[in-house]
């Protein structure tokens, strides 16, 4: 049977809206869900997605992707890579799955919001595929780790993490709920797909795929590459929305949506991806430093894309660039020190060789971060593990929900950015975190951080064991040092030889 080439019918069908007779346009597309911002529907019909695909094409491609990833998994299962992989790499996978898998399902709901409520037919079409994409990502990233539950209960946190009050889960939900689940369709297309997926998802998935290949983990590499090809497609939904907003006098709001999304994504990835790339991935398998990835995938890429759209780099661009030398080192040290509060085993990444690499990539590391690690290393080598474990909670930011960190040691500079609002004292880890709050206090003011919950008596008993129970961490799940302190012992051996 003759098939009309896609190019001949696609533009007509994707721009098709229907004429409703039983309901009004406002009932069909409620503003709080659609977010058309008073722009006429004819304008939304000009939405021109850059990536065009028909449903049969989509199904054929996705089938091939799934078959590829699942067959690599099946073929390598007997190889039992997980049993011989470096513990730091195992931690990378367990942290990744817990932070990402269930949020993929949440992303499916966000895509479905665009698929139903966007006034742009092209957006609805792409988002329909996006909904299916994210559903697939949730399933595949739950199925793969599930095979390892027999090895450790920590793998079960792929599913469990986002259903707990673990601090990392609170931080991830706070961000994803903000940009995906509590915004109108157009804001979702900008904050989720443009602000988050074009840069940060790329970095997490492409960066990790590179490190996984280097580490010999071909199952994980094929899985996340398979996910990334979907992301690269549906991440393109935000660009056309931005063009329409800008052309219709909403440039300022478009810029704000992008700025909030990029800042909040940066903070989350400073605790998720930063430690993985610079500390957990075994030294010999690190392809680039986190900072190098950030500069290539976030700084340069966003500058170019924003300029193409006629938008500015976010006002905090210089702060973000400077933070590439600071924030993730603090997040890593915090996660390691408070290791009983996470569902993976943090790798310290602070052996003599690691520290040499860190000093090379981040000049000055030894006289700042190294000062803290010196005290920790001495304690471990003098039988004082107790001093390397926490007895209180770190103070967390009321926007990122992450610890307020800064440069330690000789160049000590840890800053709080407080705000008293309606009689409540809020604490923020940066000027930009506080700025996000100030853009929409009604949205954020009721949220209680882990510290707020602790102080209001929601965590009982009101001590660290009580907090661990509140976070849902049971025996065999709480994190411990990934390498059983072998990295610290290396300093002792070095001293003995000398």
């Amino acid at each position: 049977m003759y098939q009309i080439p896609r190019a001949e019918w696609y533009d007509l069908t994707r721009a098709t809206n229907w004429t409703y007779s039983y309901v009004t346009e406002d009932e069909m597309f409620p503003e709080e869900m659609s977010g058309s911002r008073g722009i006429p529907i004819e304008e939304w019909e000009t939405y021109d997605e850059p990536y065009k695909v028909s449903y049969p094409e989509y199904v054929a491609i996705q089938r091939e992707k799934d078959a590829g990833a699942y067959s690599v998994k099946a073929a390598l299962e007997r190889d039992a890579y997980v049993d011989r992989a470096d513990p730091g790499w195992i931690s990378t996978m367990i942290a990744h799955y817990g932070a990402i898998a269930v949020n993929e399902y949440a992303a499916s709901l966000a895509e479905a919001r665009m698929a139903r409520f966007s006034k742009a037919p092209g957006n609805r079409n792409m988002a329909t595929f996006g909904t299916l994409d994210e559903n697939r990502h949730g399933q595949i990233q739950l199925f793969f780790p599930h095979a390892n539950i027999k090895r450790s209960h920590q793998w079960d946190w792929a599913h469990k993490a986002m259903h707990t009050n673990d601090w990392a889960a609170i931080a991830a939900r706070s961000f994803f709920d903000d940009i995906m689940l509590s915004r109108d369709a157009i804001a979702v297309s900008i904050m989720l797909t443009f602000g988050f997926e074009t840069g940060f998802t790329n970095m997490q998935f492409l960066g990790l795929a590179a490190d996984a290949s280097e580490a010999g983990d071909h199952t994980f590499a094929s899985l996340i590459s398979s996910v990334q090809t979907d992301e690269a497609r549906h991440a393109q939904q935000g660009g056309p929305s931005l063009k329409i907003l800008i052309a219709n006098g909403h440039k300022e709001e478009a810029q704000k949506l992008i700025d909030v999304s990029i800042w909040r994504a940066w903070k989350l990835f400073s605790v998720l991806t930063g430690p993985i790339m610079d500390y957990y991935t075994p030294l010999e398998h690190r392809s680039q430093s986190f900072k190098e990835f950030m500069v290539e995938w976030i700084i340069i890429q966003f500058e170019r894309q924003l300029a193409d759209l006629g938008l500015d780099a976010p006002w905090f661009w210089e702060d973000l660039t400077n933070d590439l030398d600071v924030t993730h080192h603090g997040m890593h040290l915090g996660v390691w020190y408070w290791r009983p509060t996470v569902w993976w085993n943090p790798a310290a990444g602070a052996s003599p060789e690691d520290r040499e690499w860190l000093e090379e990539k981040y000049p000055g590391w030894n006289k700042t971060w190294g000062k803290c690690w010196d005290v920790i290393t001495d304690n471990l080598n003098n039988g004082r593990e107790d001093l390397t474990l926490p007895e209180t909670l770190p103070y967390v930011c009321n926007m990122s929900q992450l610890p307020i960190v800064g440069t330690p040691g000789n160049e000590w500079n840890v800053q709080d950015f407080p705000l008293e609002f309606e009689g409540r004292l809020y604490h923020f880890g940066s000027k930009a975190d506080r700025w996000c709050f100030e853009q929409d206090p009604e949205r954020y003011k009721e949220h209680q951080s882990l510290i707020d919950r602790f102080l209001s008596g929601q965590i009982q008993p009101a001590d660290l064991p009580g907090a661990l129970a509140y976070m849902g961490l049971g025996p065999g799940e709480m994190g411990k040092d990934a390498h059983d302190y072998a990295w610290a012992a290396a300093f002792k051996k070095q001293a003995e030889v000398a």
Partner: protein
Amino acid sequence: MAAFPINSNFQGDFVMQLVPVDTDDTMDQVAEKCAYHSVNRRVAPQPDKVMRVRLHNASESFPRDMKVSDANWRPTETLDIIFADQ
């Protein structure tokens, strides 16, 4: 006397921490309670120095014998704990 939460920003450390103090504590006692969670954990001790308490980024420290109840702090106030000669 009553428990009073503060946000401890200890010189040389990398993170702010929740520290419960008491309204009857002097500034020296506040500094000691904050030091417990930083010094010898991630910050090397400085035995020849004293520890002083000041409001975050303030230039002046509180008198060492001043009580928390007299300092007019808000709950969860951010305080810098710094090493000083006296």
